[in-house]
Structure formats: structure tokens, C-alpha cells
Symmetry: C2
Subunit: 417 residues, 2 copies
Amino acid sequence: MRAEVISIGTEILLGEITDTNAAFIAGHLPHYGIDLLWVSQVGDNPGRMREVVERAWERSDLTFVTGGLGPTEDDITRETIAGVLGEQLTVDAEQEAILRERMERGGRRMPERNIKQAMVIPSARPLANPRGTAPGWWVERDGKIIVMMPGPPAEMTRMWEHEVSPELEKRADSILVSRTLKTTGLGESTVDEMLSPLLSSTNPSIGIYHRQDGVHARIAAKAPTFEEAHFLIEPVEAEARKILGVYVWGVDDESLAASVGQMLRGQNLTLGLMESATAGLIASNMTDVDGSSDYFRGSLVTYATDVKHLNGVPAEVTTIHGVISRETAEAMASAARERLKADIGLGITGIAGGEEVEGQPPGTMHIALTDGNEVRYAYSRYYQGRDAAKKRAVLSALTLLRDFLMERAGAELDGAK
Amino acid sequence: MRAEVISIGTEILLGEITDTNAAFIAGHLPHYGIDLLWVSQVGDNPGRMREVVERAWERSDLTFVTGGLGPTEDDITRETIAGVLGEQLTVDAEQEAILRERMERGGRRMPERNIKQAMVIPSARPLANPRGTAPGWWVERDGKIIVMMPGPPAEMTRMWEHEVSPELEKRADSILVSRTLKTTGLGESTVDEMLSPLLSSTNPSIGIYHRQDGVHARIAAKAPTFEEAHFLIEPVEAEARKILGVYVWGVDDESLAASVGQMLRGQNLTLGLMESATAGLIASNMTDVDGSSDYFRGSLVTYATDVKHLNGVPAEVTTIHGVISRETAEAMASAARERLKADIGLGITGIAGGEEVEGQPPGTMHIALTDGNEVRYAYSRYYQGRDAAKKRAVLSALTLLRDFLMERAGAELDGAK
């Protein structure tokens, strides 16, 4: 199946919004064995929009169109699809009722022009949109499909999961399932070499990718059903895990924060942070994981130097060694552990901005952790702007923590023998 | 000038990376009076890539191509452009020297296949890329232009600013300058009504947009030079500011955190936070602003309830009123102020996750601030997933703070009269 994605909106062409819908759809199509060949963005211009939709209708089996479903005159996606297919728009009574009911529930009278959101063409079946007013369309004719969805990502993804995905699953004659093993501490070529006995396999196939959070090994299998694909992946995954051992820190969409969280929970440990350069970003990441309150105590964001002192970092440490130093990071870890009554304290101090501080370059990070007995330390340096520097620092800190928890689990196993 | 953007990379079509380059370029073209008409993404497939580049060469005056400049066989952007233009690729001696020098400085011998990164065609002039190994191309022939840039955003944006932007400026026969006034506290239709005396103007034109951080009024002027465009905008901006008054909190790319930071600095005040639901995200946003250490003290991320108590929130407050309550938010604000020795303390407690807590729905946020004399409070509720809920909570908190600082500045002015 040849698929195409079209995102509609002049705001995209003006750079006011980034089109994340196309990436979302692109990321979900491989499961159904659907090859995405073209993606394009076009503005609210009738001629160009029609040209793009027409070309898609000619060359693609399956076209996803998002955006342009609002109630204003600029929103011409429905009209354009109807035009390309040569079909008539009419008001769908059921959709009209839903629309009026929803507007009235919100205490508003529906402006008459909004009625266009309830319109369909004969080949279209409406798709429910409980997060907005504009229903989508599932258009099917001449063996081809157009799926029309609203532009706001929250509405689109909800419609995808509840309306579109089940239809795609029914129609797929082959399903692609992939499983990504995420590693840390190994280079791309090392992972490649380690997994070389498996690399000749074609179904499942294995690909090695260098990513910001480490090297990923992706095992992908094609089969008629999800079950059969999983069945193909299983032995190869087991083999790859045996080879890569403790270097694997997570799978698929799992974040490093989630993986670390799971280890903390498993080892019945709590974590407390003291953050300076990352200024709360590690805490924000840790708590993006459901159930993190089981093991995450909190973070002392001690941005000003004297706030570090107020929170238990001895003034002589910052005076003698400097604020951006290993010693300060270690004192922060220790203070975080004590002040937050956590089992493990982690401290991070560094430079997220673009200027040198205390003779150290932008992106410098000193990271330390302690469980009250031993102290671990990591130094990292990465600067491609503040945002990237902070994100990389979060990964470095969580990697230090992960390695520590990994070893600790190993030691516990040894002790239990 | 009709412009087109083409982003190249199978990883985009697989949804593994989101194409932010297209949005970046799109956002910068309006300055030069360049209309972006088409954006598309295509994989590393020779046939389809050629088709897309060919169409662009035919229909567009100016085409921006990003990605596919790596040293591997998959990277065929150079070959494709050369093919469409019917020109020969040859090694540019200067680029080769730069390439070898850079690899050797990194302690590596250059693999011979990497030489392709130093190749050009007769119509192309190389564009420097100090952040990576692949130079870009400025291709000019038959009155048309193709600008080829590397895919990694840090390399692309650097090349844009230093190499591409000056060339576009030289060629632009009309420059579009816009100025966005960001408001808060007013609805879209209210802003529309207030600015109605100005809305009939066509150059500059005014557009009103509803955005997540409030309603924006964008004044845009077209003129032969940047100076003349600014000259057209000035009186209209002054008039709009007079009408909108204190509702304007910032301009253009300014973030609410930057705007609040400026007010804190101006009033010589410091800020300390206690965050629960946002878990450090307000702190992270505040410190994304250069120089924030002048006024930002820190944040106590008190995720666990007893960590709130450890940091000065009286246990009876959370017991009697619940953790997710106005009273707890107020106690947090007060504790943050004292513990962090800040002039203003701000506390936030709520529900970022998808489950009800203490009978309150997902997205509930209680926000309070105090300067030691008076206490301000705001309630907000917004839930479209955890990430969106947290971001909205940050905006709500900063809006409360901004309104307070605004009034305080007004009161000071009154007092000085």
C-alpha cells in the first residue's frame, strides 16, 4: 500500500506551527505494512490544495489529510476533497445534532456557518471527534482511501487511536512489528560488531542506530498478524539481549526516566535531587512517568549559590573548589539525600548557557550521586544551545544513576547466592 | 518569488524524527517577501527524490533542500540535484582540504568515501558548515536558485544565519517585517473589537490570533528595506499599545518567562518557587532566559507530601484542606519565599496526570503567590495529556505573577506621583 500524508494550513507554511501530525502518522504506518512515500504541507489556497490532493488521489492508495476543518471560509479541506472526487456536500443529520448539542452544552448558540462541519460526501463515513467540533471522514472509493482528520494534534491523535487505527488493522495484509533495544555505554560500531551474528537475518531484520540517548538496536518483523510478527521477534530479541547484557537500559518508547524509575521501585529506593544547571528539568522528566511518586521525593533547584548553602551545601566547598566543580556536585548529592530524606541523592552543577563560567566551557556538567556509603561522579560536556545542553545533561545524570542501580542489583544478586 | 522546501530523509517518513527544518525555514522566509508555496518530505529513494526535486526546479524560483548530505551511499541529495540540473560532480580542492583537516583534527583518518562531501557542481558555490563536515550549496542557474543545507538542525540553522540569510537579504526587493504584541486576559473578539480602528489598514496589516499563551496581534509591513518597513510599523504599534495598554505582556519571540524576568529585574525583586505538579518545569522555563540568576533564587520541587512538610508547609494545612488545595498552594508560596529568601514566593499544587486526585479532575492547578504582605491566588484546569497540562500550568503561574508585577509597577508609579 502506497501512502501519502498531506498537512493543510497556511500557518504551517508561515512557520508559525510545526507540523507534528505528519510525524505522528508516519511513525504509526509501519505497523500495518503501509509504506509512506510522500509527505507534503500546503496552505489554504484552493488551487494548490486541489493540485496536491488530486496528485495524491492519483498516485496513492491511502491518503491522510489533516487540518482545514474549522468553521471559517478559509477552511476548505472538505470542499477540496469533494471537488477532487466530484461529489456533492450535504449536511449529515446525525452530525448536525451532535454539533448543535455540543455547542449548546457549552452555552453557545451555534453560528449558522458552523453547519459546514457537519457536512459529508456520499463516499465518506464520519469519524467521531469528542475532543473538538469537526468530525473526520473515512472516504473509500475505487479501491482507494482518503482519511480526513482535524489539525489540532490532541483531536487528531485521539481520532487516530479510536477510529482510524482499528480500520487499518482490519485491512492490513501484513503487519510490521518492531522492538527497539536501547543501549548505553557502547559505540555504534561496537554494537554492530557484537550483534554481527544476527545481522544477516532478513525477517526479522536488525538495524543499529545512533541516537541522543545511546545506540539503539531495532528488530523488525513482518508477518500476517501481530502475533506471528511477535513470534518471529522473540528468539532474536532474546539472543540480542543475551549479547548486549546490562548495556540494554530500555525498550521502544520507554524513556530513561521510566527505566530508572522502574529500577528504583524494584530496589525499593527513593531519589532526591539537587539541581542547578538543569534547574528542575531532571525532576520534570522523572515525574513525567506515571506512579513516580512511589520513588521520587523531590528536587531542590538551588539556582543561586547562597541557596545551595541554605540547603546544606557547605560554603567552603563552593568557595574553595568553585560552584562548577566535582566537589560541589558531590556536596549537592549528599545534601539532597539528607534534606529530602531520600535513599539516593543526586546533584548536578554546570553551565547551560553559552558563556564560560569559572574558566569552564559552555555545556560543562558535574554530576554526582551518593547512597550514603559511596559516591559516584560523572563529567560531561555538550553544547549546541541551552536547550540541547540541558537535555543532554538530563541524559547524563540519568545514565549515571542507571549504571549505579544496575551494579547495585548485580551486587544484591551476588550477595543472595 | 515562489519558494519551496524539500526535507530529505527516510527517517522523517518513518516518523523517527520530526522535520523542524521546514518550519524554521518557513518562519524566516516572510521577512524577505518570499512566498512559501510548497513543503514536502521525501525519503532516500532516488526515483522519488528526483521527481520531487525536478518538480521544484520547474515550478519554484527558490528551492531549499535539507538533508541527505552524509558520507554514506544512502545520502544522494548531491547526486540528485546534479542529475536534475544535468551537471557533473567534481571534488572541490578547497572543500577537500577543509574536510581532511577537520577529520584529522578529530584524530581520525578520513575514510575515502567521505570525499563526496567535498563535491560540487559548476553552478554551485559551497556554503561553510563549521558545525559539521558537509558544506551546503548555493546553486544559481537560469534565474533560479537551489539552496542545499545539511539536515541536523544545529548545522542548518547556523548555515542559514551566516550564509543563506545575507544572500536572501541582498536579493529581496521587498522586505516584510512583523511585530507581534502578545496579550493576556482578553478574548480574541475583544482584542479584535479594541483594535477595530486599525484593522482597515493594509500596509501595515493587523491580524489577531488566538494562541496558547494568549491573544496575539501581529502588525506586518512590506517595504523595500528593513528600515522602511519598521518605519511603517512604528506608529501603528504605538497606537495598538496605547489601546491594549497593560494587557500586552511581550513582543515577538519573547517568552512569558523572559517578560516576567524583565519585570522582576526592573522592580529589583527576587523569586522563589515551590512546585509540586509542575515538578521543576516553571524553574526550568525561568532559567531558560539569559541572566535569570539576577532574580531567580530557585525552586523547591516538593513532590512527596512529607517533602512539602520538610520544606515548611504546615502538616495541618495538607491534612485539613488536602494537598490539592488553595490553602496548600498558599502555604507553599509562603514557605518558598521564606526558605529561599526570596521577595516573592510562588507555590503550585495540582494534578498533571490523567487520574482524579482528592475528588478533583485531571489538569486541576492551584497557584498562589505572596510578597509577604498580600497573597494572590489562581485556579486553572486544563487537561490534554500530562505534557500539555504541565505547560499550561506554567503559563497560568507566570500569568498570575505577571499580573501581580504589573499592578505593583502601576502602584509604584501612583505612589511616586
